[in-house]
């Protein structure tokens, strides 16, 4: 286990707590919308219990900015906190869950699959383990273009759970990142249960962190219910990746605080198991109150602020247009009329980036 290499600034800890609060309240609203039947089909998938770990990542990443390509983030199912801390606007959370045409996925994909390539957020596919290779590809692109010199690289971050850790795709992706010595940070939320299957039916090694050495990547571990530990450990991992030390894998032990999705009551998680894990958010609220970094009134004030923001975002999204089958551009290909049109190789070769379809 790596000792934190820096002391945590009080402002950073408070900001972290605020991202956690924000994510929890958004999740609770999404669950409520689901129960009201306001989410078109499917389910909603919450990050409850994983906010400390996920937000720590989002806070340590650098989003794109003028003159800076920025880090890349491929969030997984339970990374609302990390997304928000990385700069995903609340309105996009609402639009995609409510499948509005105005949202970044335009109703063509929903909920946690949302991504925004302009914000360097990759849209995940449901197939677990697929994203690390794509993140590695983005980092490899930057390396090939010579943009990753020095000790201040763009990093690529993604997340997986104890379940997804067992896929072949994850293995291939992490191995490729290690071979290419890419600045990739993989967060592993060992949340005890993959859908309804417990860890003893998922993996047989003593500790998922033991795999780091096998991949040739640096392993880190933290208590995922301890916000300060998450902030310090994830911060250390991101810093090392940025400095050129290659891929970093951070394993956090925690408990999934909800069902797989809100359609699932998680009744298979026993009371005994629940009693062994703290809730990262309530622990950190108490801790910072005791340390007099925040007051109960501060927390109530922030909750009220966030609730008001959520109300506005949800109301705005609900007032926006849904996709219209009659207006839809029903093409899975960006190239049109390939049989009759010659591809313009010259303009393709000189374009800085590929063309983007205009958003409505």
């Amino acid at each position: 286990m790596n000792k934190p290499i820096h002391k945590l600034a009080p402002a950073l800890r408070v900001a972290h707590l605020r991202w956690m609060i924000r994510a929890r309240l958004v999740d609770e609203r999404l669950a409520a919308l689901y129960r009201q039947g306001a989410i078109p089909g499917g389910s909603v998938f919450l990050g409850k219990g994983q906010e400390a770990f996920s937000a720590a990542l989002g806070m340590h990443l650098r989003p794109p900015a003028p003159g800076r390509r920025g880090d890349v983030f491929a969030p997984l199912i339970r990374d609302l906190a990390g997304r928000l801390a990385f700069g995903e606007p609340l309105i996009e959370v609402a639009r995609t869950h409510l499948m509005r045409r105005t949202g970044v996925m335009r109703g063509r994909d929903g909920n946690i699959h949302r991504g925004d390539l302009d914000r360097n957020i990759l849209p995940m596919i449901s197939h677990l383990g697929a994203m690390p290779a794509a993140v590695a590809g983005m980092l490899l692109a930057r390396k090939l273009r010579g943009e990753q010199a020095g000790a201040d690289m763009d990093v690529g971050a993604t997340a997986i759970g104890d379940g997804g850790m067992q896929t072949g795709a994850l293995h291939e992706g992490l191995n490729v990142a290690a071979v290419e010595k890419l600045p990739l940070v993989l967060l592993v939320a060992d949340n005890q249960v993959s859908y309804s299957t417990f860890s003893e039916r998922t993996y047989a090694c003593a500790d998922l962190m033991d795999r780091a050495i096998g991949y040739g990547v640096r392993g880190h571990r933290c208590d995922g219910t301890d916000a300060d530990a998450c902030l310090a450990t994830v911060g250390d991992a991101v810093k090392r990746a940025r400095a050129g030390e290659g891929p970093q894998m951070v394993v956090a032990t925690l408990l999934r605080g909800a069902g797989h999705g809100e359609h699932d009551d998680a009744s298979y998680v026993t009371v005994e198991m629940r009693s062994r894990f703290n809730d990262c958010l309530s622990v950190q609220e108490r801790r910072l109150i005791v340390e007099k970094l925040v007051s109960e009134a501060d927390i109530i004030g922030w909750r009220n602020e966030v609730t008001a923001e959520i109300n506005i975002a949800v109301a705005q999204a609900q007032g926006e247009a849904e996709p219209d089958p009659a207006q839809e551009d029903w093409s899975a290909w960006s190239s049109r009329d390939l049989a009759r049109t010659l591809i313009d190789r010259a303009s393709s070769a000189t374009a800085g980036t590929t063309a983007t379809e205009k958003k409505p």
Binding site: A134, A339, T354
Partner: protein, 325 residues
Amino acid sequence: MSVRYVDAIRLALGDALERDPRVFCYGQDIAAPFGGAFKVTKGIAERYPSRIINSPISEDAMTGVAIGAALDGMRPVIEFQFADFASIAFNQLVNHAATTYWRTGRPCPITARLPVGGTKGAGPFHCQMPEAWLAHHPGLVVVFPATVADAYHMLLDAIACDDPVMFCEHKNLYNHLKDQADPRDAPRLPLGAAAIRRHGTDCTLVSYSAMVHTCLAAANDLAREHGIEVEVIDLRCVRPLDAEAILESVGHTGRVVVATEDWPWGSVASEVLALVTDRAFHYLDAPPARLCARDVPIPSHPALQAACVPDAERIIAKVLETVSY
């Protein structure tokens, strides 16, 4: 000058690497000095050592890396050592690459090079044709160059295409198909256009990949021995399919036979027959027919293998049956 099919692919890769700094190649054993299992990158790998990169035996990650690189502005060309192994990357190809444009509005310009088709004695896992399972998924472009000139131009077009292109190159053509002309001087057709390789009035014979050459041999025999003029269509691109070219030909011949190296069930051949039946039924003078590979895993023994793939003799018999209906 004599240019083989494999040389044309190498020439196209070299020209793409030379012209476009966004292009790089990634695959198993493709770097210098080895230059790939079929030596496609041999010679150019030395010229671009940092852009022709070996991958581990990780087809899924190789494809995922290409997707990520494409989304970051590159034009990756990945090489599957054999098309058969693209099944390992099925998920990244059909769920990730193929859905990206539809989901995000951002194109995913990757080129996957897949050496396809049967070579003598290579057996069930080194001879497959992947088009049915790739072309099934909206979002992928699936192409089969059958000539030296197409190998060159279609690869450059695949790399310039904004969509993910499955570039299926037939292993039997690599060294056996030669052209005296420089493919760079040959005329270029649109990537998705079918080509009429032989004009005829009695029956349309639809094919793609190496089977085009078997069809042309059969057509020449039919003309010589039977006085039957067959129109041979080389699909070149099986997805999207150049429906107009097929329908126009069937419109004037009234008969169609499809010959492919792939299995029959849920295949490009069945799709062509469905198209003709749907949209040209009233032009037909005979039932539309197809000849595909025998519906078994590909056998290793050359005699068994040869019995599985349509040859000129069987194509001639099927055309005669159709024409005399």
